[in-house]
């Protein structure tokens, strides 16, 4: 039974990682950049929900919508101001700019909300589920995260495979110039990708803060790095890869904590990542790149 409850909490944590990793992987697939500011967008999402519920007394669901709205606008704004002028610049220049944006968001949050951690009240207020005569308790929060993640992945797959904008995204990620020649508005497609990624970050932020109810300006940093790892784990640029990578990372972390060592859980997660990359150098579902001479 304890195994099952670990499994559920692993899946729940993994779902949060997966939602964040989706944002990383989509942006990477289309703009070919590592958006290191993504973790801080999560933090902003958390703060927005906190402000809406604690200060303005909004219902939890409305606070999630507000967080999504703010993060979407923020994501598009960051893309327009900081990344768009660097479309033709070397990738390291874009990486450093993303780091600059990350510092900016963290320090802006520090000025607005100070470094004192805020205690976040969970947005999920349903009673927990008891199974097998009360031997196994599944929190409603875990169920909500897992369901949210599944809903998001189904929705995203639908958008990408069936809609016009999804087709444009696939075309831009395949070949930017050819897509432009076919009449696709590349800039607009990239903006939409950032918008979707940032909205997902907002959801992830609210879920993350509900799971670990302490909110500070650096809240997003470590989950951001872990989700980035998850995206690479699954093969960066691949949407199913981000999903499975996130879930696996969550499971490894929880089982590592439960059965091996609490203190070394990060070391275990990252060691497994290295091992996977040694066996499959482009991640679990990454595309093999053949080289032309």
């Amino acid at each position: 039974m304890t195994f099952l409850s670990y499994l559920v909490s692993g899946l729940s944590l993994g779902s949060i990682y997966a939602i964040i990793a989706l944002g990383y992987t989509m942006v990477y697939g289309i703009a070919k950049m590592l958006n290191f500011a993504h973790g801080d967008v999560i933090m902003i999402g958390g703060y927005m929900s906190f402000v809406a519920t604690a200060h303005m007394g909004w219902p939890p669901l409305a606070s999630v919508l507000l967080a999504m709205l703010v993060c979407t606008v923020l994501g598009v704004l960051i893309e327009q101001l900081a990344y768009k002028p660097l479309r033709t610049a070397p990738s390291l220049a874009v990486l450093i700019t993303a780091i600059g944006v990350s510092y900016f968001l963290q320090n802006a949050a520090l000025l607005i909300w100070s470094s004192n951690p805020k205690s976040f009240t969970s947005v999920v207020l349903l009673p927990s589920l008891k199974l097998f005569d009360g031997q196994l308790t599944i929190s409603s929060f875990a169920l909500v995260t897992i369901l949210a993640c599944v809903a998001i992945i189904i929705g995203l797959t639908f958008i990408i495979s069936k809609t016009k904008i999804g087709k444009a995204m696939r075309a831009v990620s395949e070949d930017k110039e050819a897509a432009q020649l076919m009449g696709i508005n590349v800039n607009q497609t990239i903006s939409v990708t950032f918008a979707i990624g940032s909205a997902l970050a907002a959801i992830a932020g609210v879920l993350l803060c509900s799971a670990y109810p302490i909110l500070s300006p650096t809240t997003g940093a470590m989950p951001g790095i872990k989700a980035f790892t998850a995206a690479v784990f699954g093969g960066i640029g691949s949407i199913p890869g981000a999903f499975w990578g996130g879930l696996l990372l969550g499971l490894i972390e929880i089982f590592g904590k439960a059965y091996i060592s609490t203190q070394l859980s990060d070391a275990i997660v990252f060691s497994i990542l290295i091992l996977v990359l040694l066996v499959r150098p482009t991640g679990l579902m990454g595309r093999k790149i053949s080289e032309k001479v």
Partner: protein, 357 residues
């Protein structure tokens, strides 16, 4: 005007780099002697040297070898803690501070270099962002493991434990060096600005000589075109590893220097953010440009101090400056303008030469 040979030009360029460091050292000594140095700035002198060594060594990986590393602070951490253990371990046998510092730097470099080899062998098979993520993962693992280590010195030698201080079993006579998440406490402050500058000069000598040697040219050939380099018989793994290990070893020495400047050192100090900070020095100084790394590391370490006037807004100002520098230095129009100005001056100097003849 006399034409300079490429070899001479390189010699002059290298000499300028060394001269900058020495002149800066002399200037700061004069300022310090006349009491014009604020105490917060004086406290930054050794960290600046450590960060310069970090930036120059990372530039070897990023600029010369052409591979992105996000875990350079991991090597710094290894050097820092092995340096601290050595310096405290020798406390009873070697009384001279500089000798213990030298031993700490050497051991720090060797240990970090060894781990550079262990990480490099598997990691350098990967490329691009995947290599970057392995170095990131490695840095996090080191931070995490060091955070759980308890190390002490007893009468019979070094004792290491991963659970708690009591399990070291040191008794009365032993000293505890590392206390898990509390880090190393009671470190002797052996590092000095002079030692830091010497380490910077040694680093420069190693890196500049490597870059202009046969191995250096082979490393750059691997960077520019891996397949072409392999087809003319350059052993890719060997040269990549050489550069990576030297880079790691130098970072280890920098870590030892850094740690021996404080009385307490914690593993959290050498996290992902530190790796990124050093990467920022390298990119802003110019990738592959050693002199640029030195200047960027020094200026950017002091910058938050200089921005003190902005008070709470200083890190925000730092972020904005970082973004603006990246945006302007990569702006196509500004690049064209700079190119035009440069070509104008070159034309005019050539015209003068023609007139002389």
């Amino acid at each position: 005007m006399k034409m300079t040979k490429p070899g001479q030009k390189r010699l002059i360029s290298n000499a300028i780099t060394y001269a900058i460091v020495i002149v800066a050292y002399v200037l700061i000594q004069i300022l310090d002697g006349s009491g014009n140095l604020t105490s917060s700035l004086r406290g930054q002198l050794v960290p600046i040297c450590a960060y310069i060594v970090m930036a120059v060594s990372l530039n070897l990986t990023v600029g010369v070898l052409g591979e992105l590393s996000l875990g350079h602070a991991g090597f710094m951490s290894l050097g820092a803690f092995s340096g601290v253990i050595v310096s405290l371990g020798l406390r009873d046998t070697v009384s001279a501070g500089p000798l213990r510092l030298l031993a700490a730097l050497l051991v720090g470099a060797v240990i970090a270099g060894l781990f550079g080899f262990i990480v490099g062998v598997p990691a350098l098979r990967l490329r691009g962002d995947y290599l970057a993520i392995v170095t990131l993962a490695f840095g996090e693992i080191i931070k995490n493991v060091i955070n759980t280590l308890y190390v002490g010195i007893g009468p019979d030698g070094l004792r290491i434990s991963m659970s708690d201080q009591a399990s070291l079993g040191l008794g009365e006579s032993g000293t505890v060096i590392m206390r898990g998440p509390m880090g190393a406490v009671g470190v002797d402050k052996l590092a000095s600005f002079g030692a830091g500058v010497i380490l910077v000069l040694i680093t420069l000598a190693i890196v500049l000589n490597l870059v202009h040697s046969r191995s250096g040219r082979a490393i750059m050939a691997v960077r520019d075109n891996r397949i072409a380099a392999e087809s003319v018989g350059i052993s890719i793994t060997r040269y990549k590893l050489t550069a990576f290990i030297i880079s790691a070893a130098l970072a280890g020495a920098a870590g030892a220097l850094y740690a021996l400047n404080y009385s307490t050192v914690v593993a959290r100090k050498f996290d992902f953010n530190t790796s990124i900070l050093v990467l920022v020095f390298v990119v802003l100084g110019g990738i592959g440009n050693i002199r640029g790394s030195i200047i960027a590391a020094a200026v950017l370490t002091v910058l938050p101090e200089l921005l003190r006037a902005f008070n709470d807004y200083r890190m925000l100002a730092y972020a904005v400056i970082l973004i603006l520098v990246m945006l302007t230095s990569n702006n196509d129009r500004l690049k064209q303008l700079r190119w035009r100005i440069r070509s104008y001056f070159q034309h005019s100097s050539r015209r003068q030469e023609a007139e002389h003849e």
